[in-house]
């Protein structure tokens, strides 16, 4: 793990957490002292070799990093691109999120706090947080929308086995955004002894930059692995985008490589035209949600509109502010992927490679299938694409089983 920061990290965000016109802090004053404390702890840790050594050892010995970069030959042959899968699905707890929670749990210890709270949608971040809390002997409370506790019952059980308290949230739309509201309310009341272990690169500064720094190993590893494997940088890097931490994690190392195209695939639900989707950049507008200015699904009065996606992990009406900025600057391209296209890609990976992906990551696969011919035409050869396979599909077997009608009737 390098403590060097590339030029892009030095430039953005600014000291107050702004990525261009996005980011910043839109929070109750009660939280500012805690955010400042966290900002100081994070900046110190980033420059502290002992922190980096401890974090690096945890990633290697506990989480299984570096994750493999796997040349998916049968999939490549099917879609006309040389696909390199960044196997974050093989990490402990089954997704990229373990990197973020280990980093933040270490920071929690350093700040002398004994309790962590988290919000979760699909339950992956909740499981990862409960895991880190068990490992670091921290009290853990996870807020989860009641609707999500029902569609992800297995992950609720996992969190409880790991010693966490799961609080079903019954306000608003009873999904991820409401779980975040409830976690913020808890934090305002208990900020003295509690760290809010936020699960994506969103929320008030310093969270978007801090989370990015903890997951950027994905891209740092992939960049070197790609050079070792094919002797060149990839033509494109693709990832799914909900809040956007896995995408920033894999993008970050490539931001200063102009030849590498960056693609973020948002959850298009039933299709952006139907209004039933979670594509905040494609189908939303600039606004303030959960402490940051970013693209938000909202009505003309600024009321948040409920998002829709087959993937609980992407079912969020906002997006991390750095993505909003990468979109505005044109450095990254964002496109929606419908539920149907994501599920087709899910099946394709199962059948060609024997890998069951998370439905979230299936959006990245489906987007890659769509851009492969465009890139091939532009380059005049088969493109090399690094796809961030951000998580595994065990948690989605029930949803996918129902979708494909492969469950036996009881």
């Amino acid at each position: 793990m390098s403590v060097d920061t590339p030029a892009a990290t030095g430039r953005y965000p600014d000291a107050a957490g702004h990525f261009g016109r996005f980011g910043g802090r839109f929070v109750p004053e009660a939280l500012v002292a805690a955010l400042d404390e966290l900002d100081g702890a994070w900046r110190t840790a980033m420059g502290d070799e002992s922190f980096q050594t401890e974090f690096g050892a945890l990633l290697r010995d506990y989480a299984g990093a570096p994750s493999l970069l796997y040349p998916a030959r049968r999939l490549s042959a099917r879609i006309g691109a040389q696909v390199l899968l960044k196997r974050e699905d093989l990490n402990h707890t089954g997704a990229h999120k373990v990197r973020n929670v280990l980093g933040q749990a270490l920071l929690t210890k350093r700040m002398g706090k004994r309790r962590v709270i988290a919000e979760t949608g699909a339950g992956q971040h909740g499981v990862a947080t409960a895991t880190a809390a068990a490992l670091f002997d921290l009290e853990c409370v996870v807020y989860m929308g009641e609707v999500d506790t029902q569609r992800q019952a297995l992950n609720v059980a996992r969190m409880r086995m790991l010693g966490a308290t799961v609080v079903p949230v019954t306000t608003g739309s009873r999904t991820l955004k409401d779980a975040m509201n409830e976690a913020m309310r808890d934090w305002v009341a208990n900020v003295d002894n509690t760290h809010y272990l936020i699960g994506t690169a969103a929320g008030p500064h310093p969270f978007p930059a801090l989370v990015r720094d903890f997951v950027r190993g994905i891209g740092d590893e992939a960049r070197q692995q790609c050079l070792d494997l094919v002797g060149a940088l990839p033509d494109a890097v693709t990832a799914c985008v909900g809040g956007g931490s896995n995408a920033l994690g894999v993008f970050h190392a490539f931001v200063d490589d102009p030849s590498v195209r960056l693609y973020g695939f948002e959850a298009g639900g039933d299709g952006p035209a139907t209004g039933r989707h979670a594509a905040s950049i494609t189908g939303g507008s600039s606004g303030v949600l959960h402490g940051t200015r970013t693209y938000v699904l909202q009505d003309a009065d600024g009321q948040t509109i409920e998002s829709h996606s087959i993937s609980a992990g992407l079912d969020y009406p906002g997006v991390g502010p750095e993505h909003a900025w990468l979109h505005d600057t044109g450095r990254a391209t964002y496109r929606p992927v419908t539920d149907a296209d994501a599920m087709a890609a899910f099946e394709l990976l199962c059948r060609t490679e024997g890998i069951i992906p998370a439905i979230e990551s299936s959006h990245a696969l489906a987007g890659t299938v769509a851009i492969a011919p465009e890139l091939a035409a532009e380059l005049g050869r088969e493109p090399v694409v690094v796809v961030n396979l951000s998580g595994r599909g065990d948690k989605d077997v029930h949803t996918a089983g129902e979708y494909f009608g492969v469950l036996d009737k009881e």
Binding site: F26, P28, A33, T171, A189, G287, L289
Partner: protein, 267 residues
């Protein structure tokens, strides 16, 4: 001096605190909320705080969340809020608006300030806008002569407290406890300390809110603050009532109890 400032001056001359009563716009309906706020004024509430209902109110506890959800489900719009401000200002009581930032940002900060001033509103209380991010609001509130109430918290450092208060106009909102809105059984030990810290850096009146719901608690808060801000306890009168008339009766009774409380400041 702003109309809020006049209310604080008059109360100070009478040896008592100002009573600020909060109600979400459009709860239970647009007309119902006008009736409720008018009843509060008639029963002795000095200043009405109209909260713009918002889908994601992170500073609010379950009572205001429920009331806001009811208002939003009833279809209330930001434009209705301005109409409500106008109607309640006609009673003669100063009307301040409490809002999360996104509804103002989407309306357009300058346009909102212009229309709020035209409706007779005195200014804004902004629970999730800190001065650090408030450039547009500072300019618009100056342009239209509106008050700016930012929140200070027991966790605010001295430097932040001073900076925040410097950006306030009208009055300062001191949050009595670390937490969200909602009546509490226990009085806050942090509140008097916070109020005296604010007094050390400003002559502006200081209102204290969060957790106050009874005449006795209002009396205690009036002992150390210039204003006593009550929301959830008043809203509960309507939420718990079988009908709007019954709710208005309960609302008048509690308003009168609180008004008596702020007139007997605990020493």
């Amino acid at each position: 001096m702003s109309r809020i400032g006049v209310a604080f001056d008059r109360a100070r001359a009478e040896g008592r605190a100002v009573l600020v009563g909060c109600m979400p716009a459009g709860f239970p309906t647009v007309e119902g909320s006008i009736a409720a706020m008018t009843a509060m004024v008639e029963a002795g509430v000095d200043v009405i705080e109209v909260e713009i209902p918002y889908s994601d109110p992170v500073m609010d506890g379950p009572v205001i969340q429920r009331a806001s959800d009811i208002a939003l489900a009833g279809g209330v719009r930001v434009a209705d809020t301005l109409r409500i401000v106008d109607a309640v200002a006609a009673t003669g009581a100063p009307v301040v608006t409490m809002t999360y930032w996104n509804p103002v940002e989407q309306y357009g900060v300058d346009a909102f300030a212009r229309d709020l001033a035209a409706a007779g509103g005195t200014g804004l209380i902004t629970p999730d806008l800190i001065p650090d991010e408030a450039q547009e609001w500072l300019a618009a509130s100056d342009a239209y002569g509106l008050d700016r109430t930012f929140l200070v918290s027991p966790s605010s450092t001295d430097a932040r407290l001073r900076m925040t208060v410097e950006h306030c106009r009208g009055f300062v909102y001191a949050t009595a406890i670390m937490g969200v809105t909602g009546a509490r059984e226990q009085a806050s030990a942090a509140a008097p300390v916070l109020v005296s810290r604010v007094r050390a850096v400003t002559d502006l009146p200081v209102g204290v809110g969060l957790g106050i719901g009874t005449g006795e608690q209002a009396s205690t808060a009036a002992g150390f603050a210039d204003g006593v801000i009550v929301g959830s306890a008043l809203i509960r009168c309507l939420l718990d009532a079988a009908s709007l008339p019954a709710g208005l009766t309960a609302l008048r009774e509690l308003s009168a109890e609180l008004a008596a409380g702020v007139r007997k400041p605990a020493s």
